[in-house]
Symmetry: C2
């Protein structure tokens, strides 16, 4: 697969970020911090980088030294098993943090690739640790962010361990919808940035199964599907599919 040319990575002041002025601050790392703490964060996060669709923020095995926050765009993380199977471990929207899984081994265990032209804020982890030693509420906040990641991975485990294909896709759509809402977008209409195969990989299904379930949902009037354009027509019924007692 030919790889897109990397766009120049501007580390210049033009791309200097300021958490305190970022419209994502409630969703992102700064969430819940005081104004003074925000200004401390500003000293930390000095670099944004741009990525073209298809470009990698990092690859499995790369040394870890920073976390990345999605400033604009959409990312996918995926891991390779020893036996060569590739699995998508997450999709990341604006305000979400990538790279926490690299802290333990000081190497990134997964690939992170842009699914559309995107921009990331680079958060040097050593400096974040330093700052969080001085600011207890930032420290607590970082711990909460990491813990939230654990909880959300566990809920994917539950999805994979106990749900059937329809339930998985319904849960997936509702999850996207909810995250879109939190970002001020329509809860019911959006473009999927990922392929059926990536959705399937994330949900533990084959791409054909994903496609079939989309078709079934479509014919039942739950969603309007036109390739990547999705319109959720009946959120309550989707919810009832997820919550189906077994």
């Amino acid at each position: 697969m030919p790889e897109p040319e990397p766009v120049a990575n501007f580390d210049t002041d033009a791309f200097k970020s300021a958490c305190s002025k970022c419209n994502l601050r409630e969703l992102c790392l700064p969430g819940g911090l005081s104004h003074a703490e925000l200004e401390q964060l500003d000293t930390l996060i000095r670099v944004r980088r741009q990525y073209r669709k298809g470009e990698y923020a990092y690859r499995a095995g790369d040394p870890f030294d920073s976390l990345f926050a999605v400033r604009t765009g959409f990312f996918k993380t995926s891991m390779l098993t020893e036996d060569g199977r590739d699995q998508v471990t997450g999709f990341l929207m604006t305000g979400e943090l990538m790279g926490l899984d690299g802290i333990s081994t000081e190497r990134h265990p997964c690939d992170a690739v842009a699914l559309e032209d995107s921009e990331l804020c680079v958060i040097p982890f050593a400096k974040l640790e330093e700052l969080s030693r001085e600011a207890p509420s930032l420290q607590r906040h970082l711990h909460k962010v990491m813990s939230r990641e654990i909880v959300s991975d566990q809920s994917v485990m539950m999805l994979l361990g106990s749900m059937r294909a329809e339930e998985r896709l319904a849960a997936f759509l509702l999850n996207l919808s909810q995250r879109m809402t939190a970002r001020g977008y329509s809860p019911s209409e959006f473009y999927l940035r990922m392929t059926r195969e990536a959705i399937g990989s994330y949900l533990g299904l084959k791409l054909e199964t994903v496609s079939r379930v989309f078709s079934r949902f479509h014919s039942e009037g739950l969603v309007a599907v036109q390739q990547k354009h999705i319109q959720i027509l009946d959120i309550p019924r989707l919810r009832s599919i997820v919550g189906q007692q077994c």
Copy 2:
């Protein structure tokens, strides 16, 4: 289901712990810390509690204020979905840490129950945070522990998302074996503390399937199974089952 009577929870000096003298220190939270840092940890972890088989260390919804380290015994954590399904999210052996998933909401999202008579070290989280603000290497270590939890949850996601029943059980047995080895026990012979149903719940399989796969492994000479007593006879072949190219 009748619940066992709680054993008295001794908070006395008799049960005072000392990480610096604990034979699990290399496996547990203290792993990799200097002697001076260990002594700081000693000031933190002052309480051990004992649990009878079937007793809960905490339940979903309980307020979070401490992490727990398994000192002796064996624990299982499980979550309840909204629709009433219960899923096992982990099995914990000596030296392993429970409760990280409670930091984000300040409530435990899962139940933690002893699968045999056990002892836990109670680690007050606020104090751990305090201490880790003063000791950068403890701070880094805590972050690594949390990150390791994320990575291990992700590898369960991969297992659930891409492996078939035989592969899952083989991976599960190899994982147990490896953790037993790290604790100085035999890598090939152990008692399963959990039921087939709990294994199935963890692996996203029904208990009958778990039982059948055990029987198949048995008849193929991979393991000797007598109820909960397991003897792994052919680790290389188990590995090759896990690593099967799809």
